[in-house]
Amino acid sequence: MKRRAAICVLPFLLTACAGEQSVLDPAGRDAQVLSDLFWVMLAGAVVLWLFVNGLIFYVTRIAPRPLGRRAAEALIIGGGVVFPTIVLGALLIYALSEMPNQRASGEGLEVRVMAHQYWWRVEYWPDGASEPVISANEIRLPTGQRSEITLNAERVIHSFWIPALGGKTDLIPGRQTRMSLEPVRAGQFRGQCAEFCGESHAYMAFGAVTMPPEEFAAWLEAEAAPAKPPEGNEATRGAALFLSEGCGACHAVRGTAASGAVGPDLTHLASRRTLAAGILPMEKAALRDWVSDPARFKPGVEMPGFDHLTDAELEALASYLMGLT
């Protein structure tokens, strides 16, 4: 890790090579291949650059003399045609030979993702399941196995990308696309919509968590369970407000009367690492601000603001939502 980070930092004076959303800090089989590809391509480019510029330097500064016809022809044909064709051909063959593996099919778990403006509906279909475990705005995957990812979009094209785990694939309305990911180590990462989809496209991210298979199975079981009932007075008032304010028309909280499907499922909201598709921390204050005026954080968002609520009411709602672990 240290050494790789140092390699990143030295040539570019960047400190951002490592981290949650870096293609140069891979945590998945496909991302590893892509990062190797990047370094090989970079090396190829550097070799070509040094060779061509070295040659220019040599013939103009070090030995500026007229060349004989044969030498000049050898230089132009060899250095200008044959050498770059071979180097580019070799790099092309290398890149192409990796491509089929990037499309390998998954086994076991299937994750179906539906992109909305500007959030993600996520369904987990374990092997042989007859109905899915529904979640949103976060992708969890077991390590050491290849999971199938099925992609769809509601209204416009989006693109699904977790740089630390693999390449990106577009989600297209009315058409199913697919990819697969094989995380090799457990960790927390960040994904991002990578195709312009509207005003808040840049705010359409998501958390990604990879975990050992047993941990993943335990998490999935908890995720399948209905919501915890509210604890304490404030949260109980919040639960009542949630229904009376009509949140349940858009949001589902399984185990309650709220069963809307317009917005993200909130049954286990507080167990996610981030709020509102990767843009806010999962904290009470952020929840309060979000519910009172979501458009402040995401222009064009399809959730109305609830700024007519009093501070105490917002506080109660946030308290209820933070209890939905």
């Binding site: 016809r69 051909g89 092309l92 192409l96 499309r103």
Partner: protein, 123 residues
């Protein structure tokens, strides 16, 4: 170079023929792949067709390039500057340009066809 047809001396078409073959090859490869994937969901037929088309394109380009090389007549006088308003210079210029375009087209056709060698699925 007395055996050359008068046509080629003046024709700009002969000069650009190799890239024209390349572009037709390019368009057909894309179209065939799309059609095969849409109709059968596999690339078996498309791969064969692309192999055949590539072979044909390479032969055509080789012939054009060879004819351009002869027209340039480099080994006759070792000139690659053709800047005089004379018949000879015009002829050699068109041959020279056609030859270089032929070389580029060979590389282009091979690079365009190569993915079909490695990628066997419509995914």
């Amino acid at each position: 170079m007395t055996e050359e047809t008068p046509f080629r001396h003046r024709s700009i078409w002969h000069m650009v023929l190799a890239p024209v073959v390349w572009s037709l090859h390019f368009a057909s490869v894309y179209a065939i792949t799309a059609i095969d994937c849409a109709k059968t969901g596999t690339l078996d037929t498309a791969q064969l067709a692309i192999a055949a088309l590539t072979l044909i394109a390479l032969v055509l380009i080789a012939v054009i390039t060879w004819r351009s090389w002869r027209q340039w007549d480099y080994l006759g006088d070792y000139t690659y500057v053709h800047d005089k308003p004379t018949v000879k210079h015009r002829r050699e210029f068109l041959g020279h340009a056609g030859f270089l375009l032929g070389v580029v087209s060979v590389i282009g056709v091979i690079f365009v066809a190569m993915p079909a060698l490695f990628i066997g699925s419509c995914q």
